[in-house]
Amino acid sequence: MKIIKNGIFYENPVFVLLLGLCSTLAITTKFENAYLMGICVTFVLIGSNVIISLIRRWIPDNVKTPVFILIIATLVTIIELIVKNYANDVYEVFGIYLPLIVVNCIILGRAIVVASKQNVGYSALDGLGIGLGYTLAIMLIALIREVFGSNTITLMDSISSLTGYRAIYHVFPENFIPISFLVSPAGAFLTLGILMGVFNSIRKRRTT
């Protein structure tokens, strides 16, 4: 429990560690994309943490990084094939950002800091905690950007071929003009900057 809380709050990958920001900013235009990306990243994170922790004794120190990257790349290729097969629309929406999970620094970072030193149980929990922290963070960013940027919340749209129905909700009354600036790249940076400042102030007040 403590490990998971640590991942969500004290070592939140997006707001505190500043890792894995590319996908964070790129796909958070819709709420749906955020949680789907969160699931993919969490899966890869737990998988790589468990595998690396299992074989950590047999990996020589000087080829550590290449071995880790190969393991992560294999897991990502598996995810890529699954998503392409079962939810092609999602595959199209994610584009290059799905294969780019390979170079998401969170995963390699956790492999080096945690999985290559701790036992399997701890590594798996750490993967879950960090994955959850990442997912919650990007869901928050996506929520803000979508609600104010295009006045909708998309729960299911591109995975509707898998679940069978769509769910897109409007938030504000019709005469509200969406701030389309927030959906643009610049809006992504601004949202992240402001959220980071707010998160910082909450965290520092708690600890002192």
């Binding site: 500043l18 590319c22 190969l70 790349a73 290729t77 584009g95 290059i96 780019l100 940076f189």
Partner: protein
């Protein structure tokens, strides 16, 4: 003419850092010093161009004929990792001071989203060889330009009186937002 257009687009209006969000980690990490920013940019440009040529050849003459396109992520990562290893050895020998400055970020080029991102975009956009080369050079020079500019801005920013909780990264991201506005076609 087309190539010049592609170069300008990849360099300015579709800058990989500011519009595609690639390479943010080294962008905020190394950019607190001008010199290491320039060094990082140079290293990235070199790695991207060489591995762009390599992956182009591998993709079109090995993966496509053998029908194993789904292996591209794995293969590209391997190519980049090898290239970075070579560059690291070269810089360590020729310019030990630069090597010290780049520190942890040199091996991290392997996990630089910008490098792998450009290589994957070459394939998804179905560029020809010359277009591929232009795109590689254009976007990695774009990366260098933006990271260098940002480093100089940040050095000034450190001297200013920023509210306590907003020091460091939060204010840096807000600065990037303004830069991104300038580069995009919004204005």
């Amino acid at each position: 003419m087309n190539l010049i257009h592609l170069f300008l687009v990849s360099f300015l209006t579709e800058n990989i850092v500011l519009t595609k969000f690639l390479g943010i980690c080294p962008f905020v990490g190394t950019s607190s010093k001008e010199k290491s920013a320039a060094g990082m940019g140079g290293a990235v440009t070199f790695v991207v161009t060489i591995s762009g040529i390599l992956t182009y050849l591998l993709y079109h003459y090995v993966l496509v004929p053998t029908d194993t396109v789904y292996l591209k992520t794995l293969l590209f990562v391997l190519v980049v990792a090898c290239m970075v290893q070579i560059i690291e050895m070269v810089i360590k020998k020729w310019n030990p001071k630069l090597y010290q400055n780049l520190g942890i970020y040199l091996p991290l080029i392997t996990t630089n989203c910008a490098v792998l991102g450009i290589l994957l975009l070459n394939i998804t956009n179905q560029y020809s060889f010359l277009e591929m080369l232009t795109y590689c050079i254009g976007s990695s020079l774009g990366f260098t330009a933006v990271i260098y500019t940002f480093a100089t801005i940040r050095e000034q920013l450190e001297k200013r009186d920023v509210p306590e909780y907003w020091k460091g990264y939060p204010i840096a991201f807000i600065t990037v937002a303004i830069m991104s506005l300038l580069f995009s076609r919004y204005l």
